[in-house]
């Protein structure tokens, strides 16, 4: 349990920390750094965080609890769409970096990263307070 929790939190820290770096990079119009961080930091962080979550869920039989606790539902409903947003943000910033533009695509990626950051803190709140 402890190792799974450690992996889950470490992945979540890399994910959130990388999202902050992407946000500051895109805001400073450094699209290339933002794009690279999405690929090297945010995506691996998400995979490790999600893998750790599944490991904990399997060990603790969390998915067998009926009804599923609200904090588990919140965790899943934040984590799953986040992957989609990471992919869209990576495509937007990748295209912006390739074209050498800092216009709409950069703004779109920045907005998506902002949404992911807010969602991440909602998930942290749910994991800490475990609302029923």
């Amino acid at each position: 349990m402890n190792l799974a929790l450690f992996v889950h939190i470490l992945g979540a820290m890399v994910l959130v920390g990388s999202l902050v770096l992407v946000a500051t990079s895109l805001a400073a119009r450094d699209v290339k750094l933002g794009y690279r961080t999405l690929l090297i930091g945010v995506l691996p962080g998400w995979i490790v965080m999600r893998g750790g979550a599944e490991w904990i869920a399997e060990k603790e039989n969390v998915n067998d609890i009926d009804p599923t606790p609200a904090w588990v539902d919140i965790g899943y409903s934040v984590a799953e769409p986040t992957l989609l947003l990471i992919i869209i943000a990576a495509v937007c910033s990748g295209l912006a970096a390739r074209r050498g533009t800092t216009g709409g695509l950069r703004t779109a990626a920045l907005v998506l990263v902002g949404i992911m950051l807010v969602a991440s803190f909602v998930a942290i709140w749910a994991m800490a307070t475990k609302p029923t």
């Binding site: 450690f6 939190i9 979540a12 920390g17 500051t24 805001a27 450094d30 307070t129 475990k130």
Partner: protein
Amino acid sequence: MYDWLLFLHLVAAFLLAATIVMYSAVALGAAAPGRTLFIADRCWDVGGLGTLIFGIWLALNLDQYDFFDGWILGALALWFVATGLGQSVQRRMAGGDTSAVAAMHWIRTLVVIGLLVLMVWKPGA
């Protein structure tokens, strides 16, 4: 009360993680703009203070933990080491002396991971 203290303690810890990631990019050769380093340093300041205040508050708030438990004293020691390294990194970056910044940053990263290990396993609790 406990839930909110834990939430605020975790938010502060995630701010420390943000600093670690941002400085890791610099240590790996990324040309981070000044604004990025400014935000990284403020995350470190607020995160450091937050983890200490809410961490001690949590320890005092819960009957099952004692302030003088080995893992809490160990975490405090690691916190002071990480804070010292962080302040030193900030001073050196501000003064343009980047010679030992990468090495100090990686040591700080290991110390923060050590803190996470103590928080998860709580040896002796």
